[in-house]
Symmetry: none
Subunit: 232 residues, 2 copies
């Protein structure tokens, strides 16, 4: 299922540790992004929202506290759980960090089983689809929390795959995707299904949206793939 491997953003200034973490976490079946400092971390988050952030507390430049506060304040990022990584005996930072809103804490040196256990525990506590992700385009509303779609208030009945497909399109509008790209993003990377299967689900999605007049937003780009667009 495409549900698994969560994205984890590792923010750590020391390259060797970063690589070690990447290795260990990839083995534990997570998808990893890396950032060496806070500005780079901001970039990575903007690219795609991670499900969890592993944040080294002691870094040159912007401190972990400031960055945590920044993240916990931003409406898009405030629900991303943060685990802070500190060296031992930094009591001050630890207490302050937890007050700022870190979700857990782990101190170097730590064992990988412990790290993955903490990550799993934190992920288990958080809710699917982030807290209040509310996508809406021209009266078409996709509510991630309840996994429901409404068109001008009217509920739209969708199967799981159609829901994921629509969710993907609504969050990536005005851009053409090939069938292969759609399969990658909606079905998951290591799944082999016929490309034409996308057609079938596109059709079903259009069919479900048609009574509400939204089917025209799923547009065919002949020779390439599909595009979600408000414009006709």
């Amino acid at each position: 299922m495409g549900m698994q491997n969560k994205r984890i953003l590792v923010v750590e200034d020391e390259a060797p540790i970063r690589d070690m973490l990447r290795f260990a976490l990839e083995r534990a079946d997570f998808r990893i992004s890396l950032a060496g400092d806070v500005p780079e971390a901001r970039l990575r988050i903007a690219e795609s929202r991670p499900d969890l952030i592993l944040l080294d507390w002691m870094m040159p430049g912007v401190s972990g506290i400031e960055f945590t506060r920044e993240l916990k304040t931003g409406p898009m990022t405030k629900d991303i759980p943060i685990i802070m990584v500190t060296a031992r005996a930094e009591e001050e930072d630890t207490v302050r960090g937890l007050n700022v809103g870190c979700d857990d804490y782990i101190s170097k040196p730590f064992s990988f089983p412990e790290l993955t256990a903490r990550i799993q525990a934190v992920l288990r506590r958080t809710l699917p689809g982030g807290e209040e992700e509310q996508l809406a385009v021209a009266g078409l509303q996709v509510d991630a929390a309840s996994q429901r779609v409404t068109a001008k208030g009217e509920p739209v009945r969708l199967g799981p795959t159609e829901y994921r497909l629509l969710h993907f399109f609504v969050s990536h509008p005005e851009r053409v995707y090939t069938r292969e790209q759609v399969l990658d993003r909606v079905w998951g990377q290591n799944v082999y299904v016929e490309e034409r299967t996308v057609d079938v689900h596109i059709r079903r999605l259009r069919k479900a949206l048609a009574p509400h007049g939204y089917d025209a937003m799923i547009q065919t780009v002949r020779g390439t793939g599909y595009r979600f667009s408000e414009k006709v």
Copy 2:
């Protein structure tokens, strides 16, 4: 802020460690009660309800596990978060294997920053809760004080687990939860139960609600989990 000044009950048979903990935790601005064994701990709890219990699991007499179970069963004490203190990391796994409902673990030797951090984290996530409420959705009334449920006045017969399940759903409507999340929130954080068990209790809950016509509010979201919703 409000996090400090919380009452912590330390249950630990070795006096030196007890004193050390008291010193460290008082410096971290907690109010501390001490108990050298389980009977004494019962007394302290009766005196005044602590906000958190730090419990050594290797003690003469009643073991930490038994005591945890006792606390988690009692209606007055079941909401007090418990952090279990174990001698070694391996024992953590042993303890974890048993179905004890404690909220976190820490293994000796630990640093004080780590201890306070864990305490903060546990308090943070268990902070909201414990109050009695009167929940009602569309004629379905859940009375927390008496643990009774009525549907349009008619009493609904529910087992304890079904009651907690319904209470959880009614207080978190319009949102999908995975089985894992339901287990975490309804059964407790470190209780290991098969995910399929959720299905069974969902079914029992639906069965109990069916005669009153409320079973449709417990909705299956295929591929994800369940949702409680007023809407069809």
